[in-house]
């Protein structure tokens, strides 16, 4: 995935943020979501190592080795922040105090099953906090490529890989589309330029429910009438 595509996905995820939310961002593209917080929206960032109220990345030279996020990179804290042990950090997650988490994924099923920690036979990095976040956060947003390196859809009817958690994902944002997991099924909400609805359907194994309006996101080469940044049609 190119930098532009990564940024666009992160920016789109950031538009899910609501004022007052407590948010946990996973490592990787999800971390970039913090760079795109909409104006007027104030959220509180939670880190599994034991910070509530993590703030911006410090200026170069002002880093503190003992004030880092769960990925090990320096952060700052805002007024009202607190430090606590990791058991309490996960208490917050299991108790449903995290309004929204943004995670990466290997596969997501149309029912919202998430697989993001192990590929049998391959080297596993481990579980980390993904299971708790996926299972317990109020809203789970997944950011990933739409297809894997072999061109196979990562948006599945059923996950092939061992699950991280069942029926946990609320919104899938890929380089091709934004899809919402609902009781009715997986609804295609937005299409990323330069793709068409047909492109998305062709690259999606899961059954997609296609209802108007579908918003088209990004891309200078798109018809400006169709490219409204998706704001009006963003899922709530």
């Amino acid at each position: 995935m190119g930098e532009t595509s990564r940024d666009r996905i992160a920016e789109r995820a950031a538009r899910e943020l609501r004022d007052g939310m407590v948010v946990n961002l996973g490592i990787g593209i999800p971390t970039k979501v913090a760079d795109f917080i909409p104006a007027g929206v104030h959220v509180t960032f939670h880190a599994e190592n034991g910070i509530l109220g993590a703030g911006a990345t410090p200026l170069s030279g002002e880093e503190d080795g003992f004030l880092c996020n769960a990925g090990g990179y320096p952060v700052t804290v805002v007024d009202g922040a607190s430090y606590f042990d990791s058991a309490i950090a996960f208490a917050m997650i299991r108790r449903g105090c995290i309004d929204m988490t943004v995670l990466g994924a290997l596969e997501v099923s149309e029912r919202g099953d998430l697989a993001n920690w192990i590929v049998p036979g391959k080297r596993a990095a481990g579980i980390g906090g993904a299971m708790e976040l996926a299972q317990k956060a109020r809203k789970v947003v997944v950011l990933m490529n739409h297809v894997n390196r072999d061109g196979e859809s990562k948006v599945r009817k059923h996950c092939q890989l061992p699950l991280t958690a069942r029926e946990c994902v609320d919104l899938i944002i890929t380089d091709m589309a934004v899809m919402e997991v609902t009781g009715q099924g997986l609804i295609l909400r937005e299409v990323m330029s330069p793709y068409s609805v047909e492109d998305v359907v062709r690259n999606t194994e899961a059954d997609l429910i296609i209802t108007e309006p579908i918003a088209y996101i990004g891309g200078e080469h798109l018809d400006p009438e169709k490219s409204n940044s998706g704001v009006d049609a963003a899922p709530s």
């Binding site: 090990g72 430090y83 042990d85 058991a87 997650i93 990095a125 980390g128 299971m131």
Partner: protein
């Protein structure tokens, strides 16, 4: 009656084949002086219990990279590729738990419980081989408590009784690990006289700490530090 001792006295407690629990999260909060001491002493065949395997040259990672670890009970090894390599080649056994479950298993050991009941991982392969109980119709996995022969933690300040406070996100697993050691050694960046720590702000009461040693501070470069600014990163040779 002070618990302050030297690094050498602490290292007498950490021997080949022992089970070692460690504080820290990505190396932040893992005691650097103790890690260096364990490395220099040549301790091997360790079973280690902690959140992650650090980075190759940071925290517990240094012992993992050097092949001193036979088994690790952890939640994540992704930041230390040597850990993944040893897992793949079969020279190091790795047991994974969800991070929050691991934290509570360690705490359970620390507070003298037999274990906890947790529903994280229900419906996944983590159920395999695990006992479960139903409470109000909801399924929970039985997760036994974890303790260790020796626990090592990194405090910002300690007093001679072993009361500890930590440094921001350096707290992480340290207060849990401090309780879960059959013998707990705290490395402190600063040792203050008794009575100087605010009783309201002490995070780990000294009763859980058996030994305090003065730390020499972090002796590794953080992942975010620019090699140009601080010299090149050195990964210790595997031995």
């Amino acid at each position: 009656m002070t618990k302050i001792r030297t690094l050498d006295e602490a290292l007498e407690r950490i021997t080949d084949g022992c089970t070692l629990m460690y504080g820290g999260f990505g190396g932040i909060g893992t005691p650097p002086t103790l890690i260096e001491g364990i490395f220099d002493k040549g301790v091997k065949d360790l079973t280690i219990i902690g959140n992650d395997t650090g980075f190759p040259w940071i925290g517990i990672g240094r012992l993992v990279t050097a092949g001193r670890v036979r088994k690790v009970v952890t939640s994540h090894i992704g930041s230390n590729p040597y850990a993944g390599q040893k897992m793949e080649e079969g020279s190091m056994e790795v047991v994974f738990y969800p991070q929050g479950t691991l934290a509570e298993k360690i705490r359970a050991g620390g507070v003298g419980l037999g274990g906890i009941l947790v529903d994280v991982g229900v419906g996944t392969m983590l159920e395999e081989g695990k006992e479960s109980v139903f409470i109000s119709g909801h399924k929970y996995l039985v997760e036994p408590a974890l303790t260790a022969e020796v626990a090592i933690v990194h405090a910002s300040k300690a007093d001679p009784f072993g009361n500890l406070v930590f440094d921001k996100s350096g707290r992480n697993f340290n207060p849990l690990v401090a309780m879960a050691g059959q013998f707990t050694i705290a490395e402190a960046d600063e040792i203050v006289p008794i009575g100087q720590l605010d009783p309201e702000s002490i995070v780990t009461p000294g009763i859980f700490v058996d030994m305090v040693i003065p730390g020499k501070g972090v002796n590794w470069e953080w992942v975010w530090e620019k090699p140009a600014a601080t010299g090149s990163r050195s990964v210790p040779p595997a031995n």
